[in-house]
């Protein structure tokens, strides 16, 4: 919800845009921080865990305080990365990790842990922790200089991108925040973008959802393979219009402040290979995974075998980031395998690769991506049934 609720526009977006442009330039970051904190408390309270959900705003306060200790090369930056990972683990993965351990323990006759029920999932935790990690890592590397507390607070509490991205970079956001001014052309573009995003969600995504919902219903076991293929295709369209619509509303909201935040999508289903797809789908996440997981692991600098392993690890991390469940890990693994295979194909047979017609390349990439969506929207058992029925065309 949130972006398609009237309260988002009436209580937060419109008042904050007005206050932001009326405030003197040096106070504007505080306006964003104040509205961001109020936004988190309000939606945290009503949708993400009541009183405790709202109290999670203290995570931001703690992060702002500890970030004051970060210096290039400092151990405090490593502490900052560790605490962000820990926050994400405790809130999102502890239940999954203990149940996985208990499953293993039952097989290997090891001591079991007590089961941990998920307590609450703070609003936007997967996204804001990645921004915390980016800031600490880049400060450690010397890529971010001295920052003021007000600019950093405005960066992490910028509410249009707080819940589901795009995942921002401080080096990009800071200068835009300082130079932000009301631009009527950009504001008109922002309104168009917000309305187009809402239309993508309600007109298109919700229509495709009617078919995609059948994947998690009883008809999966009685439908013909071509119907199941159609439903998976519908899910592929649903998730595209849903998430790109969401990103449009976030980016359009940013335009109203005079701040251009990064794009997240660039016609991903027209990609000619899987490598290109990941440069056009959820761009802010894939570039984050590249910079903070794939490259630190060695990227493509340590030989072919290690590159393949790094791709698998990076995309499995990306999969698990999407959800604490095995099916998301399989989805990530599938994309890691596809990227590894594409790398070998384009390096070993470059002439043949160049001769594949554009139509065929786009179609093949689209089918491969949709096979992956089966594991994204269903558990492994159902996804296997779905894909095997499509394969047998029965």
């Amino acid at each position: 919800m949130i972006f398609n609720e009237l309260s988002y526009f009436l209580l937060f977006l419109l008042p904050s845009v007005a206050a932001f442009h009326l405030a003197p330039a040096r106070r504007r970051p505080w306006v964003l921080s104040l509205f961001g904190a109020a936004f988190f408390i309000y939606f945290g309270y009503i949708q993400f865990g009541g009183f405790w959900g709202a109290l999670c705003v203290s995570i931001f306060a703690w992060e702002i305080l500890t970030s004051r200790l970060y210096r290039p090369g400092s151990r405090w930056c490593l502490f900052g990365i560790a605490q962000a990972v820990l926050i994400l683990f405790l809130f999102k993965y502890l239940t999954f990790a203990t149940s996985t351990w208990n499953d293993l323990a039952a097989t290997l006759h090891l001591p079991r842990l007590g089961s941990v029920a998920r307590w609450l999932l703070p609003l936007g935790i997967s996204f804001f922790t990645f921004e915390f990690i980016h800031f600490a890592a880049d400060t450690h590397q010397g890529r971010i200089g001295k920052t003021s507390i007000r600019d950093y607070a405005a960066f992490i509490l910028f509410f249009p991108s707080m819940v589901a991205g795009p995942i921002k970079r401080f080096q990009d956001f800071g200068p835009k925040l300082q130079s932000a001014r009301f631009d009527p052309v950009l504001a008109a573009q922002g309104i168009t973008r917000i309305l187009a995003g809402l239309a993508k969600k309600h007109v298109l995504a919700d229509t495709f959802a009617l078919w995609a919902a059948k994947l998690n219903g009883p008809s999966l076991y009685t439908a013909h393979g071509y119907q199941i293929a159609g439903w998976i295709f519908a899910y592929g369209m649903q998730i595209y219009f849903d998430f790109s619509g969401y990103s449009d509303i976030a980016i359009g909201s940013g335009y109203l402040f005079g701040i251009v935040i990064p794009e997240n999508f660039n016609w991903p289903y027209l990609s000619r290979n899987i490598n290109e797809f990941w440069r056009r789908w959820h761009i802010s996440l894939s570039s984050w995974i590249r910079d903070y997981v794939y490259i630190p692991l060695g990227g493509s600098r340590k030989g072919e075998a290690r590159t393949a392993l790094n791709l698998l690890v990076a995309f499995t991390v990306s999969g698990i980031w999407h959800g604490a469940a095995y099916n998301f890990a399989v989805w990530g693994l599938w994309h890691g395998l596809l990227l590894g295979a594409h790398r070998q194909w384009s390096r070993r047979l470059p002439r043949l690769a160049a001769r594949v017609p554009t139509f065929a390349a786009i179609g093949l990439t689209f089918v491969a991506v949709n096979v992956g969506w089966a594991f994204f929207c269903m558990d492994i058992g159902r996804a296997t049934v779905a894909l095997s029925r499509i394969w047998r065309w029965a």
Partner: protein, 62 residues
């Protein structure tokens, strides 16, 4: 064939980007303002007519 397709795709994507708000309108003036107002009304009407079917955004719980 592919060059022709590329031209069509490029023009279509430019217009879709303008209609979606990713690019500014190519011209300014009262006619553009009227066209934009009509487009906003159409989008708003489409959203209003279809709102409330499956309201949850997939990525919000992540």
């Amino acid at each position: 064939m592919e060059r022709w397709l590329e031209t069509v795709t490029r023009r279509a994507s430019t217009w879709l980007a303008i209609l979606g708000g990713s690019r500014p309108t190519p011209r300014r003036g009262w006619l553009t303002a009227v066209a934009l107002g009509v487009w906003w009304t159409l989008l708003f009407a489409a959203v209003f007519a279809t709102i409330g079917r499956a309201t949850k955004f997939i990525y919000v719980d992540f």
